[in-house]
């Protein structure tokens, strides 16, 4: 193991394309250190989802591709790994819009996340109980079809399903999307406890900066496919005008670490 200790997830200056023409990311670099919660902030179309899919190698399923740069996971390039291998190595993505399996029951949804490690029946059952302990609401609804759950419950089922893979890093795309503030807070509380108690790291994409910065350790601001700024959550939260610039306004970035365009 000659990788440096802090090398967990490193994204180095990646470009991403859709359909071989549309340039969605330009020189995006970021890193996630083990045990942290990192947030990607940005307006619609800034490139948050593209960045997460580039990391999980799900971009090709959306007819996209990483065309330059490098992504390393624990010191090794992920370029040649398919999504299954990445999941097996501990990176799992929770897709934007939740994407539960609507016709499957809640329990089947959760179980489906456990198969990748080929656990014994007992281990699978233990993992299931662990997820139910995190999300007691899911246990009450275990036999309903996931398509019939409320939005908040679906988000919990999607996170729970991802946890069944026993990840060390969860890529979580807009968990607050379309949910009532109270539910969002409940979900972020659980994420925070998962991080503290189980050491799971998170890379979150969010538009809801105010709330997420209360839970995150570090943040990056994406703008038109580039990293416009980055800083600790406290630094980002301290800026009263930053919601301005990350939404595409005039970019006063002093005090933060502006990223030079390449």
């Amino acid at each position: 193991m000659n990788a440096p200790v802090q090398s967990f997830l490193e994204v180095q200056s990646i470009d991403a394309l859709y359909g071989e023409a549309i340039l969605a990311l330009r020189g995006v670099s970021l890193s996630v250190s083990e045990g942290s919660i990192v947030v990607l902030l940005g307006a619609n179309g800034a490139g948050k989802t593209t960045t997460l899919k580039a990391i999980s190698n799900l971009l090709s399923a959306s007819r996209g591709a990483v065309s330059g740069g490098a992504i390393t996971w624990r010191g090794r390039s992920t370029r040649r790994l398919d999504p299954t291998e990445l999941v097996a190595q501990g990176i799992v993505q929770v897709l934007e819009g939740r994407h539960c399996f609507p016709q499957l029951t809640v329990e089947e949804n959760l179980l489906s996340g456990g198969f990748v490690r080929r656990p014994s029946r007992k281990e699978l059952q233990a993992d299931l109980e662990r997820v139910y302990a995190w999300f007691p609401r899911l246990k009450d609804r275990r036999r309903s079809r996931a398509g019939l759950l409320s939005g908040g419950e679906q988000q919990m089922a999607a996170i729970g399903r991802a946890l069944m893979t026993r990840p060390t890093l969860v890529l979580l795309d807009e968990p607050s999307m379309g949910l009532a503030p109270m539910i969002v807070e409940e979900i972020f509380e659980i994420i925070s406890r998962l991080n503290q108690d189980s050491g799971v790291s998170f890379l979150l994409a969010e538009q809801n900066a105010n709330l997420v910065l209360r839970y995150a350790h570090y943040g990056y601001i994406l703008e038109n496919g580039r990293v416009a700024a980055s800083g600790t959550a406290a630094e980002l939260a301290a800026r009263s005008d930053f919601s301005d610039f990350y939404l595409g306004g005039a970019g006063a970035t002093d005090g933060l670490h502006p990223t030079a365009p390449n």
Partner: protein, 293 residues
């Protein structure tokens, strides 16, 4: 009345055979969202392989598993050579690929196995037996028992096993399935193998009845209306659709046939299917997206 019931029962039993062909389609449609035009060719290929082995002296217990192995090998090849290169293409492209595939399979069958018509004897005679006062063909009874057993096995496989849950997950949301590490190529190989197995069973039962010959691949035309009526993505739909088509077709042949002075069974199912299209476009059991109430 007794005559009516006799006609109805033999229609229902024939319907189960339609259902079995339709199930092969449903499996593949669920897992890869494509209407597998080659299903009929697979039925033909499986039955031909079996009779050829059989005629070369292999007894049933050896020829049957050997044919299964051939079908599994075919599934692996199809996944590797057709499905994987076309992954993430639109369903039309895939459909065209299965169209091409059907010609390749039939061509291969012709090249390797010849074009002769083969008799297939499964040892069950097509003689009427009396059940509860009804005259039923012993072969139909046998075929239905096989069909019911096959469906029961599939039902358990899909509802209880890890493979079944994974398959239904892929059918529901392919991207989400990939995101949690379900291996699509593996699911495809399994589904095409199971579908090849179903094709073999259907091919043997149909072949025993009408001889194993190239027209066997035309069972696709029987399965089409069944699928339209039952919905492309539902196994219960395929069964109910099959029964409905079998029963109405037989009744129409007996009761309407004489009026139009000809057989109506060749086209009646299509009239029925068009009727259903107008009333329930998704089919009886078609999964329209779940709505929350």
């Amino acid at each position: 009345m007794l005559f009516f019931l006799n006609v109805l029962t033999s229609g229902l039993l024939a319907g189960l055979m339609y259902a079995m062909v339709a199930i092969g389609f449903v499996l593949i449609y669920k897992a890869s969202g494509v209407f597998n035009f080659a299903q009929g060719s697979m039925v033909l290929f499986a039955a031909l392989t079996f009779v050829t082995l059989n005629e070369h002296g292999l007894p049933f217990w050896a020829a049957f598993p050997l044919t299964i192995v051939v079908m599994i090998a075919g599934a692996v090849l199809i996944e590797r050579l057709v499905l994987r290169p076309l992954v993430n293409r639109n369903p039309n492209t895939l459909f065209m690929a299965t169209l091409g595939l059907s010609f390749v399979i039939e061509g291969l069958a012709q090249l390797l196995l010849g074009t002769d018509v083969h008799q297939l004897d499964l040892g069950i005679d097509d003689i009427p037996v009396s059940v509860l006062g009804l005259q039923i063909s012993a072969f139909d009874l046998f075929a239905s028992a096989i069909a019911v057993a096959l469906v029961a096995v599939l039902a358990v496989l899909f509802s209880k096993t890890r493979m079944g849950i994974s398959l239904r997950a892929v059918a529901d949301d392919t991207l989400a399935a990939q995101s949690i590490g379900i291996r699509l190529p593996r699911i495809w190989r399994i589904v095409w193998s199971v579908s090849g197995f179903v094709a073999l069973v259907a091919g043997l039962l149909w072949g025993a009845r009408q001889g194993v010959q190239f027209s066997l691949s035309l069972v696709v035309l029987k399965a089409m209306p069944v699928l339209i009526i039952g919905g492309f993505s539902s196994i219960p739909g395929a069964i109910v659709g099959g029964l409905l088509v079998g029963a109405t077709e037989n009744l129409a042949d007996i009761y309407i046939g004489p009026l139009v002075q000809g057989s109506v069974s060749t086209w009646f199912a299509y009239i029925l299917a068009v009727g259903f299209l107008l009333i329930r476009p998704a089919g009886l059991f078609g999964e329209s997206a779940i709505e929350r109430v």
